[in-house]
Amino acid sequence: MGNDAQAGYLEYQGKYKGIAGWLLSTDHKRIGLLYLYAIIVFFFVAAFLGLLMRIELIAPGKTIMEPQTYNGLFTIHGIIMIFVIVIPGLAAVFGNFFLPILIGARDVAFPKLNLFSWYLYITGAVLGVMSQFMGSGPPDTGWTFYVPYSVESATSVIWALTAAFILGFSSILTGLNFIVTIHRMRAPGMKWMRMPLFPWALYATAWIQVLATPIVGITLLMVIAERVLNIGFFDPALGGDPVLFQHLFWIYSHPAVYIMILPAMGVVTEIFPTFSQKPVFGYGAIVVSSLAIAFVGYFVWGHHMFTSGMSYYARWFFSFLTFIVAVPSAIKVFNWISTMYGGSIDLKPPLLYAISFIFLFMIGGFTGLVLGALATNVQTHDTAFVVAHFHYIIFGGMGFAFFAGMHYWYPKMFGKMYNYRVANIAWVFNFVGFNLLYFPHFIIGIQGMPRRSYDYLPQFHTGHFISTIGAFILIAGLLLMLYNFIRAGRRGEKAPANPWHGVTLEWKIPSPPPHENFDEIPEITSRPYFFGSKEKANQ
């Protein structure tokens, strides 16, 4: 299976040498790594900002900063985490790296456009950071930019709006690239229903990226028009409606959460069969439920607006649809568990993270139903309960799936094995820290602790204190995990082509992959996740 004819993609010297060979590369694998390194940096910046928030909140009253600073922190923390980390995250890193390989292609459909997407991404991310230092102070509107405050605030809102717009454009182009790649570049014999499930997840995601993102694009432009031109769409004094902004904003931003979670589900769907040495249970159901989530997810946006003054029928409609969209997710959980049932379980770090993904995602999902029911929403909207809900879903879900994917694909990407013991210890810190950090928010939220609030009543002190302890434990775990990967890159054992006995195409090529992925484009003759005999899988 090894080939000496092609250089590995890490060493390959093409038209450009050295660092230019990376910054001007149209190789999807290198672009995936460019995204990875950027995301790691920005993630730790935003996580550190979150840590600062937690330090401030460890006790009531001022701890280390003024209220205005706090407002700026939760705004930029949200902007970076949402637009720079979680929305692009899995698709840009693992999608770019593995989509072509998983479908038996040499690259994506539009490699130059792919590189352009990365430059747009970096531009948007840098603009977002610059909003902190330029003009009249860091934006303090929250990442949701609600009017009227986003129009009135004297801070550098336009910088942040422009950053988000550019990041959105990057997301659109990546989605476009992936749709065309999946339609046109599958290997001979790879019919749609022979495609592995991570590409299917990316496909569903890409349609959302393409069809939902433009709406937030134009909405952000409208806010700029309000600030600069007084255009009036959202200003009641001029006949406009601030709730209209909320509609437009969430018409994108709700589907956006499916952009975040669908690839995550795709990643763990690859991990479960490999570490159970068993085909995925219900391949067809997972395909349909992925597409269903993408589709139905378009029609639930109003559940962010139950207390904003919408009509009774609108509230009823959105609540009903919100419960419906939970069904396909539940189907997936059932499929994952059934995949493991009766399998030959190997609890390596990827599976450990994938299983904790299910646990954390389900807590997030169930609490989403609490928020999705009209009556309980009144109690929980805009409280710490919401903060806990979305961190469980986004961080516990997409975040842990990202960690799972890193542990799964690291040997393939870098050709080195990391240390299992350190990985498991880091997992303990991550899991314990995460739950200590966020679970108390459910409790104090129901008890009345508002979100985005610099100060609080003494009765919430205990919850906040525990939460801040959790934050430190989590950061330690994250840093340990990162250290493990960096050390593996330097001194890790050489990784075999197939350390986990996986059966999808990426495990049939060397670790790290050669420049053009395959010597010869494979011809696909069987369904995916065919584990056959143990002997065959151990090649």
């Binding site: 069809l211 709730v243 509609h247 029609f299 109003g302 919408m310 009509s311 029928y313 409609f317």
Partner: protein, 94 residues
């Protein structure tokens, strides 16, 4: 990488399509001269939709493209219509 047989529109068909589009434009302009209230608006929009459909299927060759693309285009317009409709569930019933 050679393409399959490509459909080439004749100049004649293109001119015919244009004539139809111009006729429809004339009709919609004349109709708005007649005051039929909300019906006038509805007619103007229906005519615009027909013009759009003609441009997409004829000038943009969608008629000769594969089924997937046809479904995708219909899907996109449908999705957009649904979003507007759902937003109106709020505004209409306030």
């Amino acid at each position: 990488m050679k393409d399959e047989k490509k459909h080439i529109s004749t100049y004649r068909s293109l001119v015919t399509v244009l004539v139809i589009l111009l006729a429809l434009t004339t009709i919609s302009v004349l109709i708005t001269g007649i005051h039929l209230g909300p019906v006038t608006v509805a007619v103007a929009l229906v005519i615009a939709s027909i013009k759009v459909a003609i441009v997409i299927t004829q000038f943009m060759h969608l008629r000769f493209e594969n089924l997937f693309l046809k479904l995708a285009v219909s899907g996109v317009f449908t999705l957009f219509a649904l979003v507007i409709l759902i937003t109106f569930i709020d505004y209409f019933f306030r």
